[in-house]
């Protein structure tokens, strides 16, 4: 194993230009994939923020008894889809309207806004069908005057989200395949550059496993370095965008680490595939 490590490191020393080229190629492939990932991540976050605001508002008829409302709050709160349920009295509604509308606060008089029950659904259950279903159930209470949830708006949001998801998966797959192909051929080049060495190793009686080991280590190291470089490039891009154009979110540490590991894994698999193919042919 020690020898395999030494051989792998020697490969960097003996062919520094080819090694640097491989790492840069891996880095740029992963960088392109990473940039796309960042765009997808930010779109998803933006949609998530909008989606978090999806809420059902059921207006309560004036003069409804507190007991009836409180019983309904208990019932609705027990629906499995419901995250929170809250009663907003006429007084609270007025206070909120005044707070939100600032300078127009004096146009509101007491009693102009109805009391309401506000329902928020659990994440993942804010799709049009569920929202509509819950609204219908709330409507059945006889003290409910009207239920609103911005039907059109929720549907549009969901359509947008579905398009973004499908486009994300399709483009992401294409980017990932391109990255794997480029990285695979980069490593294949490194293997071909050492074809002579491999044939000599075989002639003097090295086992295939022994021949493979330094290449796997080399691929793993190149992939890891490429991954780190790609992450650095993505970070710089995000920082420049944040300073001059728009502040966007960067990968979480977990995702960043996953990216580097993905680079390492691609390097390892690319090497395994290239060396394996070379050995089976020779």
């Amino acid at each position: 194993m020690r020898l395999a490590f030494r051989e792998a490191l020697d490969a960097f020393r003996r062919a520094p230009v080819l090694s640097a080229l491989s790492i840069t190629t891996i880095a740029f492939s992963l960088f392109a994939f990473g940039l796309f990932g960042l765009v997808a991540l930010n779109i998803r976050n933006a949609l998530q923020q909008v989606e978090d605001r999806v809420e059902i508002r059921a207006f309560v008829i004036d003069g409804t008894g507190a007991e009836a409302v409180s019983a309904a709050l208990g019932d609705i709160g027990a629906f499995p889809e419901v995250a929170t349920v809250r009663y907003v009295s006429q007084f609270d509604a007025l206070a909120r309207a005044r707070r939100e509308l600032g300078e127009f606060s004096d146009v509101f008089e007491e009693g102009i806004l109805p009391a309401s029950i506000e329902v928020r659904l659990k994440p993942g259950l804010r799709d049009p069908a569920t929202v509509r279903g819950i609204s219908r159930r709330i409507e059945t209470y006889d003290f409910i005057d009207d239920v609103r949830f911005g039907e059109e708006w929720v549907e549009k949001l969901y359509r947008l989200r579905n398009i973004a998801t499908i486009a994300g998966i399709a483009l992401g797959t294409v980017f990932a395949i391109v990255a794997v192909i480029i990285i695979g051929s980069t490593i294949r080049m490194a293997v071909l550059a050492r074809a002579r060495e491999i044939s000599i190793m075989r002639l003097v009686g090295a086992t295939d496993g022994f021949i493979r080991a330094p290449f796997l280590i080399e691929g793993f190291l190149k992939g890891t370095l490429g991954g780190i470089l790609a992450l650095g490039l993505a970070w710089v891009t995000t920082a420049i965008l944040g300073r001059f154009v728009i502040v966007t979110e960067f990968f979480s540490p977990g995702l960043a680490l996953t990216g580097i590991l993905a680079g390492a894994l691609i390097g390892l698999l690319g090497s395994a595939f290239s060396v394996g193919r070379h050995l089976s042919r020779a």
């Binding site: 020898l3 003996r14 000599i200 190793m201 002639l203 003097v204 009686g205 086992t207 295939d208 022994f210």
Partner: protein, 231 residues
Amino acid sequence: MIRFSHVSKEYAKTGPALQDVSFQLGKGEFAFLTGPSGAGKSTILKLLYLEERPSRGEIRVAGLTASSIRGNGVAALRRRLGIVFQDFRLLEDRTAEQNVAFALEVTGARPETIGPKVSRLLTQVGLSSKSNALPRELSGGEQQRVAIARALANDPVVLLADEPTGNLDERATRGVFQLLRDINAAGTAVLMATHDLDLVRRANLRTLEVNRGQLVFDTADGGEGRAGEGA
């Protein structure tokens, strides 16, 4: 040590390369393998070190039957053979010493044994003073000596040499041939493919002659003195 029994080799694209070849090479024996280019000399050697597999017939090398060897068995067999080529096949970016050590390292020799063994091998081939030279700093004859030292690294029972003097001038040829004779005298069987008929005639050793894929003459069967006549 080596036994070919009715061995044939056919290639899908180029047709038959060897037809019904049978011969034996005993322990510690020396034999030339001669014949014109394309006659099948290299194919015989490739079959011996399992670069190729026979289409028909049986080959035994160093006590093993070629057809039963798979996977790491190929590497195990090659460790019992030494192989030398016309083009030396040295690693250009490593010194003479590192080239020889390479054969020991890749076969898992204990690290502490490698240094002393490499210097003993380089002394044996007469290159102890050039252990730190790169192949390009050595003459053809010297490069072939490094290749021979490498071939001897794993104490082979048979040394296979494919035109080892093909790229060398007469003086270097004599030196390398003498080295192979010395190695043979120490007990290693040697099978040397060559088309240097002067060398073959002068040496007056067992000669196997192949032509168009067939073994046409073996001095072990047909007496002496005819080596190379058909080439």
